[in-house]
């Protein structure tokens, strides 16, 4: 009987466990909710002060983007997100899309990276409006770049992680964020602004 009494509590828990994410009606019912995930499920392989690992990935725009291309020219913000068509991720980049002026004023570019393939990224990012930044596919070899940084989770998706890399190619800021939450924008902006006073 005690087991039976546990059932209502379980039902209640299940109902409330569904969190409200990917709020925009732009996605309608196309967001797959994996539920609450382990906040972080990888071990970083880089740290601030180190030179960022080099990489070259294909972007949705069709370009091949190399981190090296920005050396001496632009600060780079890399935004790893776990996967297309999932909560939080779908509500993260559209916010970055309206603050190009903040990136510009800090002489920075944004590179969005997921482990999805290009067609999936194309369809997904189309729902966000026209993005000003490059979206890169770390699909094959699967998650190789995420792995280099130490942000590839055990289930094959990337962490929700932000890296700020300065013009010398040095990592100045790392936030491997709780995968279930969006990183606060003010923190990213504050860290970007710190580059000006270095």
């Amino acid at each position: 009987m005690k087991k039976l009494l546990f059932l209502p509590a379980l039902v209640i828990f299940c109902i409330f466990a569904q969190s409200a994410c990917a709020l925009s009606d732009a996605y309608k019912n196309n967001i797959y909710n994996p539920g609450e995930l382990k906040p972080v499920d990888s071990v970083l392989k880089v740290k601030t002060g180190q030179t960022a690992p080099s990489f070259k990935l294909k972007a949705v725009s069709g370009k091949m983007i190399s981190l090296q291309d920005y050396r001496g020219k632009k600060n780079v913000v890399i935004s790893f997100v776990p996967a297309a068509w999932t909560p939080v991720c779908s509500d993260q980049w559209p916010g970055y899309n309206i603050i190009k002026d903040i990136f510009d004023s800090n002489d920075a570019v944004l590179l969005g990276i997921t482990v999805d393939n290009i067609p999936t990224l194309y369809s997904w990012t189309n729902q966000m409006g026209k993005l000003w930044f490059e979206v890169l596919s770390d699909f094959w070899p699967h998650g190789a770049v995420a792995k280099k940084f130490g942000v590839l989770r055990s289930d094959g998706v990337a962490e929700r992680a932000l890296f700020i890399i300065d013009k010398k190619g040095v990592i100045r800021y790392i936030d491997v964020h709780n995968i279930n939450q969006r990183p606060p924008l003010e923190t990213l902006v504050r860290e970007l602004e710190k580059l000006k006073i270095r």
């Binding site: 009987m1 039976l4 009494l5 059932l7 209502p8 509590a9 039902v11 209640i12 109902i15 409200a20 709020l23 925009s24 009606d25 732009a26 309608k28 509500d91 993260q92 559209p94 916010g95 899309n97 309206i98 603050i99 729902q127 966000m128 409006g129 969006r182 606060p184 924008l185 003010e186 902006v189």
Partner: protein, 190 residues
């Protein structure tokens, strides 16, 4: 046997209570109903405070806004549709402010779901929004308002400290003149 019946009763009551709470929470404010008595953060600038007819700091309730009708936009800085709708809502604001029949009788506020003040301020600046945008950083207000998708518009009629929801709908407003005419009619302003 008595114990079994008692346990079953506890189960049924618990389930019933849970369902009641869930139904109450998942439904957005319904037309004809009362708008929830939620605490909104007072704007931190004098222009927005004056627009709402408020002063000081702390929180306020929709029923305290000095007007007859409040249009509430549930939005997020991160929502592409809300970004796309921003110019249209600005047009709505201008139409109200430029019409003596509506100015001071209809006010607009935005509630930024899961947005910090920093984020609502970015949205305000980016789209040159002239009405107050209130942050709901921890989804607290969003949960009370049925966890609606965004943008979502609720229109509340105020009378004698009481509230009545006269419009509650998901999605873009469409033609603002049609919307404004509808609101004027529903609220009795025209």
């Amino acid at each position: 046997m008595k114990r079994t019946i008692f346990c079953l009763a506890v189960m049924i009551i618990t389930l019933f209570m849970a369902m009641t709470i869930v139904v109450a929470e998942i439904n957005p404010p319904q037309v004809g109903g009362v708008f929830p008595e939620i605490d909104l953060l007072k704007p931190n600038n004098s222009v927005d405070l004056k627009y709402l007819g408020l002063s000081g700091s702390g929180s306020f309730k929709v029923s305290q806004v000095k007007t007859e009708v409040v249009i509430i936009e549930i939005f997020s800085m991160y929502c592409p549709y809300c970004q796309g709708e921003a110019p249209n809502v600005n047009k709505l604001y201008a139409s109200i402010e430029n019409n003596p029949a509506f100015k001071n009788k209809i006010k607009i506020i935005g509630i930024g779901i899961n947005n910090s003040l920093f984020e609502t301020d970015i949205f305000k600046k980016k789209y040159k929004v002239e009405f107050p945008l209130i942050p709901d950083g921890d989804f607290k207000l969003h949960k009370i308002m049925g966890e609606v998708r965004t943008p979502y518009f609720i229109v509340v009629k105020l009378k004698g400290g009481k509230t009545e929801v006269i419009y509650s709908r998901l999605g873009a407003l469409g033609d603002i003149n049609v919307f404004l005419g509808q609101i004027a009619k529903l609220s009795g302003l025209q």
